[in-house]
């Protein structure tokens, strides 16, 4: 049977909510039955109607929704939170308290402290919390992770991530463009601009595939847009556990780049390269041998996916894979099974890691570009 999904945020005019709905629908495991789709009551009602949500399950507030749905025999199996970032924490808290699993858009919260508190609540309640770090849903990202995990490239030495966009190359916030407005406003986005918006994806991809955790960062965050208050270009150095090094270049001002997230991992016995804009291809080089092009669905590739090799997997497939895994997690929870998330599914730990990374980068940059540990404290130069 289909699982019942509720949604907070994502009413008419919103962006990411629509993609969540497609992702939820794609495999036919979820049905949208309830929502608090907008803080604007008229818009909430209209949006619910358009989406086929029954009138009595269109709520005026997320709090009312959490209470009511928890009380229904046919209450929702999970809620998707697709609000602006600063609401993630209170909304998630309400639903976790109500025992309802949460599927939360990234970043987890506005601050690292909120993230840590929320993670503690997740641990305490045992209710599934899923963070939609979408790029981990691509089959070849998972294949890369599996290759590293089984030692195909040996111990990791260096991790290089770049994430390039160009939509803030000109001062679009001055034109009133909404996405730009809130993303460049510290009051709404917190202390990190580009480093929070996409730098967190870069870090997540690095750690997801490499299996490493960062121990220190050094960041040089710059706001190149005239009058811009948050960084739009981030240069970051990393030191991982086990002695590995890394670099992240995240920028939203690089003309000609759209969503150019690329990962390269250097291991002692081989290397990997993956590019989000051509996600079916994974370049793998065993040391001393020619580079092999591994293709989703192709020879030697074990990660399952929906279409055969050569029939491209898109962003929405990757997104849907997270919803499929979320369904598995929720079903296990509903059947009272013990409760880790599926191994590849990001949750609260990944969320906390991302928020601490942003805070540390901001701290490092404000101090002029010094090494800080993941608590944002300066650490002995070279100690990491």
């Amino acid at each position: 049977m289909r699982l019942k999904l509720g949604m907070v945020g994502g009413g008419q005019g919103a962006f990411i909510g629509g993609l969540h709905r497609i992702a939820a629908r794609l495999d036919g495991q979820w049905e949208l039955v309830a929502g608090a789709l907008s803080s604007d009551p008229i818009r909430a009602v209209l949006s619910a109607h358009t989406l086929g949500i029954a009138a009595e399950r269109s709520y005026a507030s997320y709090a009312a929704m959490a209470t009511a749905e928890a009380a229904r025999a046919d209450g929702i199996d999970a809620v998707a939170i697709v609000t602006p970032n600063h609401l993630h924490a209170p909304v998630a808290t309400a639903f976790l308290h109500a025992g309802i699993p949460v599927i939360c858009d990234k970043p987890m919260t506005r601050t690292a402290a909120e993230a840590e508190a929320l993670a503690a609540l997740v641990a305490e309640t045992g209710v599934p919390f899923i963070l939609t770090q979408t790029y981990t849903g691509y089959a070849m990202v998972r294949e890369a992770r599996a290759l590293v995990a089984r030692g195909a490239i040996g111990p990791v030495r260096h991790v290089q991530v770049e994430y390039l966009q160009d939509w803030l190359a000109s001062p679009v916030e001055a034109t009133g463009q909404k996405q730009a407005l809130w993303r460049t406003d510290p009051a709404m986005s917190g202390d990190g601009g580009c480093i929070a918006d996409i730098g967190t994806h870069a870090l997540n991809l690095a750690t997801f595939v490499s299996g490493l955790a960062p121990v220190a960062v050094l960041a040089d965050l710059t706001a190149f847009g005239p009058g811009r208050r948050l960084d739009d270009n981030a240069a970051v150095m990393l030191r991982f556990d086990q002695g590995a090094k890394g670099m992240i270049w995240a920028t939203q001002i690089a003309p000609g780049t759209k969503n150019a997230l690329r990962l390269r991992i250097v291991g002692a016995a081989g290397g990997l390269s993956w590019d989000q804009e051509h996600p079916d291809d994974l370049s793998f080089t065993p040391l001393g041998e020619p580079t092999r092009l591994l293709r989703r669905g192709g020879e030697t590739v074990l990660t399952p996916s929906r279409t055969p090799a050569g029939h491209p997997e898109g962003y929405l497939d990757a997104f849907a894979t997270l919803y499929a895994d979320a369904a598995q997690a929720v079903r296990a929870y509903r059947s009272r099974q013990a409760g880790d998330l599926p191994a590849d599914l990001p949750g609260s730990a990944e969320g906390v890691s991302g928020m601490r990374f942003v805070a540390a980068c901001v701290a490092s940059s404000r101090k002029g570009g010094v090494w800080v540990d993941l608590d944002g404290q300066s650490c002995r130069a070279g100690a990491a």
Copy 2:
């Protein structure tokens, strides 16, 4: 409101039916409510149950389904036909007679004569008939078509299409692999092997984007697989109307290729190149200027799509776009509006064209590689 979809074929163990269901679900415009999912009654019932189809709407035969659904007040709005090819014609005929729109997997039928008869029935009944030539659903294929239509490359001079796969490079039919078995069996596939299975896609892509129609073909069809009875490698020359020339190379025995469908169009004032395996990119060169990389969602690109530039559109998105257009066509039909399909949506004309192309190629090749017109008749050498 969602449209109600029925399905013929696509039970457990089938392949393409599952992709149709995802495509139908993706935009939330269709709901699967009825089916004759298998000729095996047990499998039909089990499949229907798994898919959430009510027991009374799981039919033992397509004929029963057409009659019953036409009689219901809440009958299906359209039927998706995902059976083996030889059933396309009789199933479609039954539903068209019942006044139920048809969404038919390609190729349209087993023979050109069947296709022509079916097209006549479509014209006579006025009931929508949609052919899922999936690749026409990609945004950048539609963008390419629009560019040609508005004269961006001037009159078309040459159209080059290649469609390369490798899954028949070894004699897999000897291992009992089912897809290979029926595709290499003339009794089940008709006279064309590779030329029918993927050559038709190549032709469809060529005509869809160029706006041209073929007037003569010359084909050299070869079965390289030992003991193979149908072609697995097709070399085709084309002459289009308006004096344009073309070539198609379609093969299923090229190691290292998965679904490498590539189109290049040479115009008097510019050129285009598109590759299905990297569908978001379209290379466009105005004569005498540097090549431009047009990207889905990017600058100057007008064709709408679901995700922003850099968030890859996949095969399932393209498929879903056909179902979205089909929904539009069916809604127009239901509201008794006059009835052409949306301009970009393939229908019976495209189906007939493909079947005549296959027949002509087979005729040409059997005659030793001579020019034939689209009726398969030898035409004066060089006349076209």
Copy 3:
């Protein structure tokens, strides 16, 4: 010691002669000491002076040069012929009669008959005749040839070559551009335009790497340029010995393409792909395994070259490799050793093959696109 080179053609204002001189100089094995550089006596003298050729070895005619150099104790070791095509045969004949090895720019002659006569003379005299089919000088082309020869891809099934340029996309001959003028003039170029100018390279590459010989061709040659008298777009089908098939698309009107010569070979046990514009890379797929990127100088690659992997080999390197091989052939000849050319060095056989190919394509196309054998005679359809 350096070998002494003479040159016929290549005076001021000429194009290909300068590239021959660079190629000859690059490895330091040749020294230019004599020339009949131009039919214009003033230009001949000035060109010789500029190139440091002694005044007494600057000749007014190739005939005088052949006689005089043959008579000198320090006469040239070889002559490079870089004249317009119609002079290749008489010039080469003169030097072969004088016992002087010939390095001849392609195509070998203006007609197939001339080529055959010249090849007979080469056989009769035993004097080395080298044809500069430049693309065979690339290391990875030779590597590809070696891979095929040692069975890495099994028996060849299909050979696909495309050679795309755009410099004739507009009617540049109308502007008086010299290269365009003579290449579109049957009086100067013979019966083939694009098919002779670049189609011969395509064929040569196909046969050089595959080891196959063509047995029949079918061509559709078109002149798209308004008023143009020779083909600028050539579609060709081939049947090779041993049952292999092939296609060539050669065009000089494809906007955005400069010198896009690409070869793909489909074998029963693997495939190869090579692109002249990125010549250091060779894609190799053993059947059932991931594609490997073989790189010049890299792992498993045996063909020698001048620079390490990653330091690109250019067109002039490839050209110079032919001159290095020519030096080896000439030294062997001078030392009276028995006399086949180095195995990878094109000679008169390749030249004859190219000229017969052009003649056959022209014959096929004039007959309306029918199969002809390599004598240009129609052959039983499908017989090949």
Copy 4:
């Protein structure tokens, strides 16, 4: 007339000397007439003989050569220094004192102090000193520099360079491989390993194209090879004048990479991307427009080169372009013309810049990864 070239180093068994000789020969402007080719007298004599150098101009020491050649009426016009790095300074000093122009392989010297002293001598004597930063010789690198200089991408914001190799991925020095032995030995290479060997190329490319100068660096240098004494992986952050930022990742341990030097420049009004392994292509995006592929020799490209578009320029061409420019510089010097080098030709200033960069990176890394200015002094965090 040809210029007369001498060479110090480059005897039998050496590597880079042979490439210098090819580069010098390619355009026919230089003739090798003298040498002190090896510190081993036997090898020196044999090498000279093989290269056609007269016995009396094969010298036992560079000092003797400088003196003798300066005294000859037909003395060399320039000397190429291709010794190990630690000899660059003394050899160059000797020839500059003798009034003989110097063409010096990079890096300029072993230490920054030596480089500064040498630059002072160059300024004092007015004798041309050319540093062969080979990559600046590629036509499209020069085109990129010209585009930036004429404002095509607006003020530069960020410069990203990566330079990846894999030849030190395994501990090849333990096998006695000579190139690896001296490059991992501080006694022979100085304090920098990878950062000196290829990091200097990365910096040079960044500054050559962007027109910017670095004001501060922060480096994290790592030796991953077991027991290796010099860095084989370098992560560097840069701050340039005019507020631009930058990053360099240079590594010699990344499996699958050969000489992957890539430059990206982000400007306020556009962006550029260039890859040394495919040097004919330059990606250029004017802000808000589709990316254009600029090709050497193609539309709108102004930088001259030897072969037409599509006929690849290789590493040796780029190298030869430096020798062609050096010839121009030397001719001007010989004719007593006032004396700047051609604008695109690297000289002592570039050499000093590179050596100071290496010293600063080593200082930064030894301090644990802190910002230092180009004198290697720690600078106020964030001051730059």
